[in-house]
Amino acid sequence: MAKLVMSEEEVMLADMARGFLDGAMPVSKLRAMRDAGETFDAATWEEMADMGWAGVLVPEEAGGSDMGFAAANVIAHEMGKTLAVSPFISSAVIAATALRQVSDARALGALAKIASGELTYALAVDEGIKFDPDNAQMEAKADGNAFRLNGKKQFVVDGANANRLLVLAHTSDGLTLFDIPSDRAGVNREVSNMIDARDAARITFEDVEATGEDVLGAVDSAMSVLRPAINAGQAALAAEMTGLSAGAFDMTVGYLKERKQFGVEIGRFQALQHRAAHLWCEIEVTTSAILNAGRKLDENESDAETAVSLAKARATQTAILAVQEGVQMHGGIGMTDAYDMGFYMKRARVSAEWLGDYSYHAEKIAAERGF
């Protein structure tokens, strides 16, 4: 039975990731990138690829490190702590998991390029303000041997920088997932000016041609490929959010120990002690859900939906609490742009929305529990 304890390898991976990210991707890096108007750091992504992160879910035969979903969560968790900027979840987790469901030479080739860092992907699913892949409306009309894609996607995370897009569209008898280059004729990308200073885009598709070659999996059955990919992405995002919660929490407890008011450290006040302790309890409980989701995905990535929804629901709730408490306990300084807490707050809000918000996932759990 898989244990809900981090293995030695996982602890080592976390330590290594923390060491790297503290140096290469601290919050100050996100701040610098925001100030420079950048949302992708190619050099750091290449280093991450060299460490096997980009290929964390890519089979060894395609040059990946194939460490599994729990390991991907460990990396994402560490990235969350410092708000590291990278296309890790979009490319290394979501796209790699989708491509793995298809075992042809083309998919294997794409996986190899993901692992090497040469290709980055973005998932284009959302059409309205909420995540709702099962009801995608965008059309891909059959046109001879090809398809013509017409429609709009929004909140395509990492979509402005990605080389390729996974696009979900309606075909004659269901949903189909297309894997196309982002510079194909008729694809128009408009950069979204996101509150978290990260990459997202609104994309319009005007008569974009896609052939059978561009279909990932089978026509009219996108979900057999996309469902596991979404599950894996949601779990990694939940892990990232829990890392974010831990990062905001550590800053806050550090502040409670040094900030003085009324002549003493404010951490002596029971009102603040109990707020901090409650937050720690929430993070502990959420951490269990994250570990469980990783284990369940590693057991069977197509049968982990409830575990993943639980992780994302809890992670969302906890991250929102962590950043609110973070600002509250810091007081006025927490509201200033010069202080990092605001970055945590804005990233938490964006992550809360991406790949399904709290209600979306709570509904899934309720349905599974029979009410």
Binding site: Q273, A277, H278, C281, E284, S288, A362, G370
Partner: protein, 388 residues
């Protein structure tokens, strides 16, 4: 492919349960009327209850993880998980519950001598002796170490005088384990001993306290010149606080286990909401969903801490977190169950049974075994390292 030993164990267990668990014991009933507490004066509510206890005790299944020589089945953590899963699968009632199992057992297994374990544990496992816990006193609630009940050293025995309060089911218990001050001059935590008292041995009186739920699960317990032979001590003289602290960890995990719904409470909410979907408001359903999400996550946290303990990483002060989160959730859950019951839930023993009584009982969850506020203070000082 050959089946793994764990799969073999599951198959055998399933077979055994199929043949030995009486059908009347397969209703998953976890409310007061379904519980078998055991003890000298226990009156079985049915022949099935008697048979179920007897069969389980013979296999060591009343205390599955205790060593075989002390009445258990010696199950590993993985086997215990399977045992629990298989019991839930057929909705089997727990054959026996008691403070002997939950608290005395862990204390003796950790601090007791081999002779003490042999003497006290098997009767607990067989449900023959019922224990209660004598911790709190009128002046020692959250400040538990402020114990005043005194044990005077009389050479071969202690002479115990004093009063305990909130002793659960003391009026029905045969023995009591109690914190007794054996050195009045030592600092408050250093003069307490953990003593075992025979409640039928003279000098012990109990008086039930009627609670807001209408019943009297708690008592006041009075000691008047109660004699306790010197060998009836767990751990060393004046080191009883170590035992008490260790046991509080267990108690907290136990109470939070109820909160996580592992004892059936969690499933109960889902079932109630499902049955009343037509009548209840969307907001109530949303609140129930939130409660389910938290129940599942807290349940996983209990699992995680058990896995950690097995890997040699004790929960320690983090058990305060489980206790706090589990009990607060349980209170919420019972509020939701009351709401879902509407006016039916407002009658004592009405159409939805004793739901109101159960609801009122949960209000003590965040007080007993250390209040939520004490738990948060433990976390903030000992886990977060905040000053104070």
């Amino acid at each position: 492919m050959a089946a793994s030993p764990l799969e073999d164990f599951r198959a055998e267990l399933r077979d055994w349960l199929e043949q030995n668990c009486p059908s009347e014991m397969r209703d998953g009933l976890m409310t007061e009327e379904g519980i078998c507490w055991g003890g000298k004066d226990w009156v079985f509510t049915s022949d099935a209850q008697r048979v179920w206890l007897k069969r389980c005790a013979a296999k060591g299944y009343t205390v599955p993880t205790w060593p075989v020589e002390y009445g258990g089945a010696g199950l590993s953590r993985d086997q215990e998980k399977i045992f629990h899963e298989e019991m839930v699968r057929i909705d089997a009632r727990s054959p026996l519950q008691s403070f002997g199992i939950w608290m005395l057992g862990p204390a003796l297994l950790h601090f007791g001598t081999h002779e003490q374990k042999l003497q006290y544990l098997p009767p607990v496992a067989r449900g023959e002796v019922r224990w209660c816990q004598g911790y709190s006193e009128p002046g020692a609630g959250s400040d538990l170490a402020n114990v005043q009940t005194h044990g005077a050293d009389m050479g071969d025995h202690w002479l115990v005088n004093g009063q305990k309060i909130w002793t659960s089911y003391a009026d029905k218990a045969d023995w009591i384990f109690a914190l007794v001050r054996t050195d009045r001059d030592a600092p408050k935590h250093k003069g307490i001993s953990f003593l075992l008292l025979d409640m039928h041995g003279g000098g012990v009186e109990t008086r039930p306290i009627k609670m807001i739920s209408g019943v009297s699960p708690f008592c006041e317990t009075f000691f008047t010149d109660a004699k306790v032979p010197k060998e009836q001590i767990v751990g060393e003289v004046n080191r009883g606080w170590d035992v008490a602290k260790y046991l509080l960890t267990h108690e907290r995990e136990m109470i939070s286990g109820g909160g996580a719904g592992l004892s059936g409470g969690g499933r109960a909410l889902g079932a109630v909401i499902k049955d009343t979907m037509e009548e209840i408001d969307v907001c109530l359903r949303a609140d129930a969903m939130r409660c389910e999400v938290d129940s599942l996550a807290i349940g996983l946290t209990l699992e995680r801490y058990k896995d950690q303990a097995e890997a040699g990483q004790g929960a320690g002060d983090a058990s305060a977190m489980l206790k706090y989160m589990g009990t607060e959730l349980n209170k919420q859950r019972h509020e939701l169950m009351m709401s879902a019951g509407g006016s039916d839930a407002l009658e004592w023993d009405g159409p939805v049974g004793n739901r109101a009584g159960d609801w009122l009982r949960t209000k003590a969850n965040s007080i007993e075994g250390g209040t939520s506020e004490v738990m948060l203070s433990i976390v903030s000082r000992r886990v977060l390292g905040l000053p104070g």
